[in-house]
C-alpha cells in the first residue's frame, strides 16, 4: 500500500484531498503545518509527500528542505495556490509543482508519474 503524507493547513481542503486520495486507494497521513510534517515523515516513512507552501509555523519550502536533507529518497510534490513559486530556484528541487485546482486530475497524474519514476530508479 502506498502511503502519502499530505501537508495542508486548510482543514476543509485537507479533508477533500484525504477523501479523494483514499478513494483512489492510497493510504493517507495528514499534517497541518511544516513542523508536524517533519514528525510524520520520521514516524510513518511515507512513499511520497504532497506539500502546500503557505503554512503557519514552518512553510512548505523549508519543510521540504529539511525532509530532503534527511531522506533524499522521498519524492515531494508541491501543491500550492501560488504560481509564482514555480520560478523560484528553491522549488525547482521538488519533483513536481502543481497549482491547486478544483480539478484534481493533474495532482493525481503527477503522483502516479513521480511514483513510477521512483520505482524505476530504485
Amino acid at each position: 500500500m502506498t502511503t502519502i503524507l499530505l501537508v495542508e493547513d486548510d482543514k476543509n481542503q485537507r479533508l477533500l484531498y484525504e477523501q479523494e486520495l483514499k478513494h483512489d486507494g492510497y493510504d493517507v497521513v495528514t499534517a497541518s503545518d511544516g513542523k508536524e510534517a517533519l514528525e510524520k515523515v520520521q514516524k510513518q516513512l511515507p512513499d511520497i509527500v504532497i506539500m502546500d507552501i503557505n503554512m503557519p509555523k514552518m512553510d512548505g519550502i523549508e519543510a521540504m528542505g529539511r525532509i530532503l536533507s534527511k531522506n533524499k529518497a522521498i519524492p515531494v510534490i508541491i501543491n500550492t495556490a501560488y504560481t509564482n513559486y514555480k520560478d523560484s530556484f528553491m522549488s525547482w528541487v521538488a519533483d513536481a509543482y502543481v497549482v491547486k485546482s478544483s480539478e484534481l486530475s493533474e495532482l493525481k497524474g503527477k503522483i502516479k508519474e513521480v511514483l513510477a519514476n521512483k520505482a524505476k530508479d530504485s
Binding site: L68, K72, A81
Partner: protein, 624 residues
C-alpha cells in the same frame, strides 16, 4: 566733435562778410578824419550802427537758434531769419500773438514760459514738433529769457527756439532699445527669441536692415552654426513685404503680437543660413574673426576686403554688410550678420553702435533662454522618470494586490469545486441534485479561469534560448566577481580557445551556473589561490573547466554534492550545485567533478553545440 559741415560753411561765409564790412568801415573812418563836416560824421555813425546791426544779425543767424522778442501782450516784436525758416512763415509774424504763430496750446496756462517769465517766475521749457520750411519734421524746445529795461522791469521776453531733433532721436532710440530689451528678456522660448531678435534687426520701426542672419556657437562641435535668417529672398518679395508693412503701420507692439514663427521659415535665405557651418578655429571667415575679436565688423567692400572669403561673399551676395558678435558674460555665443541688399543704403557707424547695444542685450536673453531650455529638459527628464516610477510602483501594487486576492479566493474555490466533484460520483434519485452539482462545478471552473488570468499578470516572461557565446558570459561573470576575487586573494587565469562556437541557451541561467561554480571554487580556497578557467571545443560540444587548488572534496561528500539541500557550509542552502546541474541538464549538458586530495578540484561542464530540441523546456517540470 567735428562741426556740422553746413554750419562751418556758414560761419566761414559770415566771417568773410564781416571782414569786408570792417574794411569798408576803416576806409570810411579815414575819410571821416579828413573832413570836418559834422553832418557827415553823424551820417557815418548811422552807417556804423546799421553795419553793426547787420553784423549782429548775421552772427545771430549763425547760432542756429530761432529767436523772437515778445512784448507784455505776448505779441511778437522781432524775429530772426532762422525763426522765419523753421516756422515756415510766409507773412511777417510781427504784431501777431506768439501762440498763433507757434500753434501753441499753452497759452493762459502756467506752463507758458513767456507768461511765467513776465510774472517774475522761471520760464519752463516746452517741447513741440514742427514742420520746417524744408518739410522736415523737427522737434523744438522753447526757452523764455527775460529782458530788463533801465528801471529793472521786464518789458519784453526773448524766446529761444532750439532744435532738439537729434537728441530726441537718440532718446527715442534708447527708449526703443529698452522696450526691445524688455520684450526679449520676457521671452524664454529660444526659437521665438531668435525670431524676435532678427525681426527687430530687420523691422523698419527698429533697426531697418534689409536682411539679418543669426549664428550660434556650438561648443560641443567647436563650430559656428547658422540658426535663422530673416528677410525677403528677392527684391520683388521685399517690395511686397514693405508695401504690406507700410499699409499696416506696424508698431513694435504689433510686431510682437503678430510675430509668426512659421513665417519666413521656408525661405531660401533661411535654408541657406541653416546650412552654414564654420569651424571656430578657421579665423579666415569674417564671422569667426568677429566672434574671436568680440567686436563688430563693418565690411564696406567685400570684394576687396581680405577679411571676407569669396564663398561667404557669394553666399551673402552683397558687398556691404555688418557682423556683430553676441556676447554674454564676456563670451561670444554667436554672431549676427545684417545687410541692406535691396535698398543699398550704406551702413553707418551710428547704426552699428546702436545695433551693438541691442545685440548685447539679445545675447543675454539668448543665454537666459538656453539656460531655461536646459532646465526645462532636465525637469522633463525628471518628470518622465517619476511618471515611470509611479507607473511601475502602481503596477507592482496591482500585481501584489491581485495575487493576494486571487490566492485567498483560490483555496476555498478548490475546496468547493473538489467536494462538488466528489459528490458527482454518487448516484442520486433526484436528477435535480446532479444537475445542481454540475452547475457548481462549472461555475467554480469559470472562476478559476479568471483567477489564472489575474495571477499570470505579474509573472516574469519565460526564459528563452538564444544563440549564446559562453566565453562572453564567462568574461562578464568574472567582471561581476572581480572585487570578490581580489578580496579573497584569488588569482584568476583565463584560457579560452579561439572560435568557441555559440550554443543555444538562456544567457541568464548560464550566468547563474557560472556564478555558482566560481563561488564554490573561491570558497574552496579560504586562504587564496589560483583559479583557472578554461573553455575549449570538443567534438560536438564545448567544455568548460573551473579548476581550483584549494581544499579538495572528500570522497563521501563528492557523491552528494549535487543533491538538493546538501551542504557542508555553515551558511549554505545546499541548492547552488543542484540548480547548476539542473540548468546544465536542461541545456542537454553535464557536469563532471574530479577532486584530488592536496591538489584541488576540477569541475568540467559539457554543453552541446547543437542543443537537442525538446529535452530542455522550462515548462515541463523535470524529474530529479
Amino acid at each position: 566733435m567735428p562741426l556740422d559741415e553746413n554750419l562751418s560753411k556758414k560761419i566761414e561765409e559770415v566771417c568773410l562778410d564781416l571782414r569786408v564790412d570792417s574794411a569798408q568801415q576803416d576806409a570810411e573812418i579815414t575819410e571821416d578824419l579828413g573832413g570836418v563836416e559834422l553832418p557827415k560824421v553823424s551820417s557815418g555813425l548811422k552807417e556804423r550802427r546799421k553795419l553793426e546791426r547787420r553784423n549782429k544779425d548775421k552772427i545771430i543767424d549763425v547760432i542756429g537758434v530761432g529767436l523772437c522778442l515778445l512784448n507784455k501782450e505776448l505779441k511778437i516784436t522781432w524775429a530772426n531769419k532762422t525763426f522765419y525758416d523753421w516756422l515756415n512763415l510766409k507773412d511777417s509774424p510781427l504784431g501777431k500773438y506768439c501762440h498763433d504763430v507757434y500753434h501753441c496750446d499753452e497759452i493762459g496756462t502756467d506752463s507758458c514760459p513767456a507768461a511765467s517769465v513776465f510774472n517774475g517766475k522761471a520760464g519752463g521749457i516746452i517741447e513741440t514738433w514742427i514742420e520746417s520750411g524744408s518739410m522736415k519734421k523737427m522737434c523744438v524746445q522753447h526757452v523764455a529769457i527775460p529782458i530788463h529795461n533801465r528801471d529793472g522791469n521786464i518789458n519784453s521776453v526773448l524766446i529761444l527756439t532750439i532744435d532738439s531733433t537729434e537728441s530726441e532721436k537718440t532718446v527715442h532710440k534708447l527708449l526703443l532699445l529698452q522696450k526691445l530689451g524688455e520684450a526679449m528678456q520676457g521671452t524664454l522660448h529660444l526659437d521665438k527669441l531668435l525670431h524676435l531678435i532678427l525681426t527687430c534687426v530687420t523691422s523698419g520701426y527698429a533697426f531697418g536692415f534689409n536682411r539679418a542672419m543669426l549664428f550660434l556657437v556650438n561648443k560641443k562641435h567647436n563650430v559656428l552654426n547658422g540658426k535663422l535668417a530673416v528677410g525677403p529672398s528677392s527684391l520683388e518679395e521685399a517690395n511686397q513685404t514693405w508695401k504690406e508693412l507700410s499699409s499696416k503701420h506696424s508698431s513694435l507692439k504689433d510686431i510682437f503680437k503678430e510675430l509668426d514663427f512659421s513665417h519666413n521659415i521656408d525661405t531660401p535665405f533661411n535654408t541657406m543660413a541653416k546650412l552654414m557651418v564654420y569651424s571656430l578655429s578657421d579665423t579666415r571667415e569674417v564671422v569667426i574673426f568677429c566672434a574671436k575679436e568680440k567686436k563688430p565688423i563693418i565690411i564696406k567692400d567685400a570684394v576687396n576686403d581680405p577679411r571676407v572669403t569669396q564663398e561667404f561673399r557669394k553666399a551673402l551676395g552683397v558687398n556691404e554688410f555688418v557682423c556683430v558678435p553676441l556676447i554674454a558674460k564676456n563670451e561670444t555665443i554667436g554672431v549676427i550678420v545684417a545687410d541692406n541688399i535691396y535698398t543699398g543704403e550704406p551702413i553707418s557707424d551710428d547704426r552699428v553702435s546702436i545695433l551693438t547695444m541691442f545685440v548685447n542685450q539679445a545675447a543675454l536673453a539668448i543665454e537666459n533662454a538656453e539656460t531655461y531650455k536646459r532646465l526645462e529638459d532636465k525637469i522633463n527628464q525628471l518628470t518622465e522618470a517619476q511618471r515611470r516610477l509611479i507607473s511601475s510602483e502602481r503596477l507592482a501594487a496591482i500585481g501584489s494586490m491581485s495575487s493576494y486576492v486571487a490566492h485567498e479566493i483560490r483555496n476555498p474555490l478548490v475546496t468547493i469545486g473538489g467536494f462538488a466533484k466528489a459528490l458527482s460520483r454518487f448516484t442520486f434519485t433526484d436528477s435535480k441534485i446532479e444537475a445542481n452539482i454540475n452547475i457548481i462545478i462549472e461555475e467554480v471552473k469559470r472562476l478559476e479561469k479568471i483567477l489564472n488570468n489575474i495571477t499570470d499578470f505579474g509573472k516574469p516572461s519565460k526564459p528563452e534560448k538564444v544563440d549564446t557565446q559562453v566565453c562572453e558570459i564567462m568574461v562578464n561573470t568574472c567582471i561581476l566577481m572581480e572585487n570578490y576575487f581580489q578580496e579573497k586573494n584569488i588569482n584568476v587565469r583565463k584560457e579560452f580557445e579561439a572560435d568557441v562556437p555559440d550554443i543555444s541557451g538562456d544567457p541568464t541561467q548560464i550566468k547563474q551556473v557560472f556564478l555558482n561554480m566560481l563561488m564554490n571554487a573561491v570558497e574552496a580556497m579560504p586562504d587564496g589561490g589560483d583559479l583557472d578557467i578554461k573553455i575549449r571545443r570538443a567534438m560536438t560540444s564545448i567544455e568548460i573547466d573551473i579548476v581550483d587548488n584549494g581544499k579538495s572534496i572528500p570522497k563521501e561528500v563528492l557523491q552528494n554534492i549535487f543533491d538538493p539541500f546538501f551542504t557542508t557550509k555553515p551558511n549554505g542552502t545546499g541548492v547552488g550545485l543542484s540548480i547548476s546541474l539542473k540548468i546544465i541538464e536542461d541545456h542537454g549538458g553535464n557536469i563532471d567533478v574530479k577532486s584530488i586530495s592536496g591538489e584541488g578540484t576540477t569541475m568540467t561542464m559539457t554543453l552541446p553545440v547543437i542543443s537537442r530540441k525538446g529535452v530542455c523546456s522550462n515548462d515541463d517540470y523535470p524529474s530529479r
